[in-house]
Symmetry: C2
Subunit: 392 residues, 2 copies
């Protein structure tokens, strides 16, 4: 087992969701971990997002426990803050740690009051169940419309000894039918102080979680938490920090791609690569606009080599470029050269587009050197089915 040292996990069914499946999960770090987090940028933020941010500040980045529930987002509710605080208080008392070292996270329906007693009543059993090996139980308990569990592990050698990173995440629409959001929890046993952790998380998130899209929506509960409890006793040297950051980025990219691959109704993972843009921002915008175009996503679903849609979507990115200096490659085949059709075998390309992974390369010439990578999924009838029929 490649799990980081010093963490214990548990999950129970507390009756928060209708389906009888564990819906309350706990991660405990002993010793308390350095914590860094990235939260949703949505103007509407769920109570657990507000409280987690507040607690991280109060505790100066020290985290002893993370309490997660699925089935109710505790967002746009009258009692939201009170419920989140009450649960953190109760857990803190029973674990004998300050309430500020407990971070809450929720995912599920928006606008329905969350009953605190459902959670507080379940705490004794939840704590009793804590065990270092129950990582996957937590990874399963946080899922909602996801069809598969999403975890990633890395082991790396620092100061010639082993350090571990383990992450779990959930999400398959940026917002689900009545159920919101992406959550991610990444644990390591390396020694890393909170400020360093925060800056590494920021860099890694930019390359991973902020580069995926299922439907272009950002939920009210998105939370990605990185914990480093130092249980391995190993502090990376300055040189090794880059190595650690790379491993962390790999774990996050791995998790992020698992989300897209399990996108609601998705059959294909689409990677979009932009090159030759004038700036990183321009490259990012081009990638994002192509990734969010329903017409590009449906064309890929139908294995239709319709590069005109990709060019047209790019034209809507708000980025200046000369269409006659654009090349587009689909599955490695040049389909558009200098803004017009290239000479390619449509039947061969159609066959290649039936594969599980699709690569779109969009190259600008003569503007700059900036690049961007982005992941999304195809858009199928199933997405509509999942999102329209939840209550009918």
């Amino acid at each position: 087992m490649n799990l980081p040292l010093g963490y214990r996990y548990s999950s129970v069914f507390a009756g928060i969701r209708k389906q009888k499946k564990d819906d309350l999960a706990l991660i405990v770090s002993d010793p308390p971990a350095s914590g860094a987090a990235v939260f949703t940028e949505n103007r509407v933020q769920a109570a657990p997002v507000r409280i987690a941010r507040f607690h991280l500040q109060q505790s100066r980045g020290l985290v002893s426990a993370v309490l997660i529930n699925a089935g109710n987002a505790n967002c746009a509710t009258r009692t939201g803050d009170r419920v989140a605080l009450a649960c953190c208080d109760a857990l803190g008392k029973q674990l004998r740690v300050p309430a500020a070292q407990v971070l809450p996270a929720s995912t599920g329906v928006i606008g329905v009051e969350l009953e605190a007693s459902l959670i507080t009543n379940a705490l004794p059993k939840l704590i009793q169940g804590l065990a270092p090996a129950r990582f996957d139980d937590v990874a399963r308990a946080i899922l909602t419309t996801d069809t598969v569990m999403k975890v990633a592990h890395r082991k790396l050698t620092l100061r010639r000894r082993a350090v571990r990173i383990a992450g779990m995440t959930k999400g398959s629409g940026m917002i689900h039918p009545r159920m919101a959001t992406t959550l991610g929890f990444v644990m390591t046993d390396a020694v890393l102080p909170p400020p360093l952790l925060a800056s590494m998380l920021a860099v890694s998130v930019k390359r991973s979680y902020n580069r995926i899209s299922v439907d272009g929506d950002t939920s009210t509960n998105d939370t990605l938490l990185l914990l480093a409890n130092g249980a391995s006793g190993i502090e990376p040297t300055d040189k090794e920090l880059i190595k650690f950051e790379e491993a962390l980025s790999q774990v996050l990219e791995d998790l992020a791609k698992q989300i897209v691959r399990d996108g609601e109704g998705a059959r294909k993972l689409i990677t979009i690569e932009i090159s030759g843009a004038a700036s990183e921002d321009a490259a990012d915008r081009l990638a994002r606009t192509i990734a969010n175009s329903p017409l590009v996503k449906t064309a890929i679903a139908g294995s239709d080599p319709n590069w005109g849609r990709i060019l047209s979507a790019a034209g809507n990115a708000g980025v200046a470029f000369d269409p006659s200096k654009v090349d587009i490659h689909l599955q490695g085949m040049l389909v558009c050269q200098g803004g017009v059709a290239a000479d390619f075998s449509e039947s061969e390309l159609k066959k290649k587009l039936d594969e599980k992974e699709c690569l779109i390369r969009f190259e600008l010439h003569g503007r700059g050197m900036a690049t961007a990578r982005f992941w999304t999924c195809d858009l199928t009838e199933k997405y509509i089915e999942i999102n329209a029929s939840y209550r009918t």
Copy 2:
């Protein structure tokens, strides 16, 4: 018949599209009309858009004929400009008007060369067929994936005499499977000089065509053209200009709503009304973001009174607001008050959501007085089917 005086119409099948259905259309104004146009803001612009803009400038806004083809967008092609110019030249010669007074417009597949001879060979028959009553024939010839013809008429009294406005449009996805775009042609027999026409068109478009969305994409060929040939001999007084502008706005709003109602796969017309925003720009962004959220659109498709998705979508608009000062009404029923659930009958609301039209009212309090209206349609499985399976 309420058709404006001084216009003749014709259409033929020229073999541009596969389906045997008229695909070449002509509108002729005699005397030449004042013309004003609004074109796509996509960075990638089709040849006919470039040439139409160029001709309008060359002729100082005088338009004798509009030559429209469906089935090929003449966009991202090697010979695009040359083909568009050659067709205008040939038509100008045969009609004995300057080529600069001929405007081209195209809609259809992107990235496939358009054969000029298909069009030029069909011109004699097209011209022969010109008749004042064949308005609907042109309205039908410009359609692609549309399921219904889209026209609108208004008659108004200026200087105590009748003036007419007649418009036609096409479009049901902002971009279609291999076929691009929205086109609109509006004719009037009032006397109006080009600069006045342009400013009235700009105002009216802001309230109509720029307030609709099917899938958030903007095509490479979008063209909306307003012609005023003065054949009625009636020039509105300064006071009456407002009256004319209002009638024009009604025609454009009518046409724009017909596009959304016929949105690819749509079953419902959704109207979004924002009030209480700090600025018009903020109101517009909120409306646009809610209208483009696939989760809001699928919820409406499923008659799911899921107001949390509306609130969450608004939170992604990049507009500052306090969620606790938001009220949301669905079909006239208060569903969210002060950012949390209001007391409403879900079963009653579900029944109301089964209607053909859906009204979302999003009210901010304490920020300002700006409002916005926006139209979109629900998102159903059929949209995917239309867009994914075109070539398979």
